[in-house]
Symmetry: C2
Subunit: 336 residues, 2 copies
């Protein structure tokens, strides 16, 4: 489990996101930062004109056509005029085609593990107008990869967290929770923990659903009926699983446990504590795809698109997190 | 609303909590700190021997019998031997009698506003054995004061938060939420905001129930059906009410809004973010009693009772918060 692999070359595949948003800008800014990392090459997927303009403005000194480290792939399709802050169907379609192309590049590779995908933000509602049923990168990539079960993880400087349920009305959360879902999520986190942390065998702390972890059944029974059995079964595979813990205790305790990962039952329980400390630098990591995929934990920011003021820190952290996971899959200490 | 009252003398009424826990120790340590505050007197309610021993060890230099600032009140009842870390029925009963006596002192006063109650932690389960139906200080004091509706607030260095529902199984939270309950909680916070903050007219930020505030109805309807109408009605009385906000956004934003108060829908949504930053110094404030009551946001800590190592910071913060609210009811700037 802890045999150390040497650093290996990584191909970063980056998508531009919605061209009317801050995607191309933060992509170029993040590449400028990441360019100093060793053994990396860049495949940038998006509209040739949009990407070239962004690199001219925000990543000067890099020649997309003359440097063998860089590869610009335009997925085709007409884009037309791009107005910053004003999303439209053509831009949405181009963003979607870019994701499709990027997934194809990775999935058709003979060594998908050496390639990582970092996606800039898209406008889901706009893409849904040109492609019915589109709900987001995660679900789209799950389908493209043909995998039955993916998990969305959030990695920050202070915390690493994973919600068992995501965009579910609070009313429906208890009925979504099953032993299989909780256990499946925990085991996917165990299996792919290297995408979230440098530590080989981190503590995995599982929250309760109810206040005070149900107080022995006085405030709810899901702990006894669902979460405890799931933890017990998962512990046979990975002993370092703790819980169910009162969620306020779990997140606070995780702060002092290096590399620990908190698995929480639902969206706000998970992201409330996470965003208190990692609002500006959070990275979204998709587990279960068969390759590494990360993205910044923010949206298209149409309100500041085209102004050149976008903060690319979360995008750069997404790049670093992806490269680290791919280059050091067995947890070798890195300077990343 | 912002007319400034002068500092006024405050009588601190403190209860010892469970004598086998850290209550007497943190009480004495907090009084030692608070003794330098001006215009304060202390009425300490608990077992005479236990309190005297705690003051001898942790508040040297104070004579409980010889100093007119201090008043020791023993509520009577046999206590017997106290074994640190080992709660029992006699200690629980004495703790309960102390709360009863303290409430009586305040409620029978001709000027309850000049008196504040600070309670050290008790063992609820143990008290419930000697007084059926006891569930906690808050409910007990609500009954003693004869008030229909109280709210539990949490005040920390970074955040001030109020849950609309408290120890409710998550499954039942949506059915507990009504427009009246949400509005009643908001308006009690408006009315008693001076117990939580120095700022006269702070922003009051109300969270949504569902992820992303329901995304316009896609992820739940409680925002439209319950929370928005409650906010609109409450805004007629106090304009500075915002929401419903996605909870992760509300708590993070509150960090940069001095004195702001977050009203959240349920326990973990509220206390997860709060405890990330204010775990060690949180103060519990009961709103709606007709007098000021605070307590430290932790329990009896039986595991370290009798060792002399208990951290009294939260207890001291509870004292400071209570004194500030009573001495400056109109929000005058204080050095407290």
């Amino acid at each position: 489990m802890s045999s150390k692999k040497k650093n290996r070359a990584v191909e970063l595949v980056l998508t531009m996101g919605d061209p009317s948003g801050i995607g191309p800008e933060i992509l170029a800014k993040a590449v400028r930062e990441a360019n100093s990392l060793e053994d990396i090459s860049f495949t940038i997927v998006g509209d040739g004109d949009v990407i070239s303009a962004a690199f001219r403005d925000f990543c000067p000194g890099v020649s997309l056509s003359g440097d063998p480290k860089f590869n610009l792939v335009d997925p085709g399709g007409e884009l037309g005029d791009v107005i910053p802050g004003k999303p439209g169907e053509k831009g949405a379609l181009k963003a979607l085609l870019s994701i499709e192309k990027a997934a194809e590049i990775i999935l058709s590779s003979s060594d998908p593990g050496s390639k990582v995908l970092v996606t800039a933000p898209v406008c889901k509602a706009e893409i849904a107008r040109v492609r019915k049923g589109f709900v987001g990168h995660t679900e789209f990539l799950q389908q493209a990869a043909g995998v039955p079960f993916v998990t969305m993880a959030f990695v920050g400087e202070h915390l690493r967290v994973v919600p068992v349920t995501r965009h579910v009305p609070l009313r429906n959360v208890p009925s979504f929770l099953t032993k299989d879902l909780v256990m499946g999520t925990i085991l996917q986190v165990v299996e792919e923990r290297r995408k979230m942390t440098d530590i080989n065998d981190p503590a995995i702390m599982v929250t309760a659903l109810n206040p005070h972890a149900g107080e022995g059944g006085k405030i709810g029974n899901e702990e006894k009926e669902i979460i405890e059995p799931a933890i017990e079964s998962a512990r046979e595979i990975y002993p370092g699983i703790e819980g169910p813990l009162p969620s306020d205790v779990a997140f606070y305790s995780a702060l002092s446990r290096p590399g620990s990962i908190v698995v929480a039952m639902y969206h706000d329980q998970c992201l409330g504590p996470f965003k208190m400390l990692d609002f500006a630098n959070g990275v979204n990591v998709t587990l279960g795809l068969g390759f590494v995929r990360t993205s910044p934990d923010h949206g298209t920011a149409f309100n500041i698109a085209g102004m050149g003021v976008a903060d690319a820190n979360s995008m750069f952290m997404a790049v670093k997190t992806a490269v680290r996971a791919a280059a050091y899959p067995s947890g070798m200490d890195t300077n990343l």
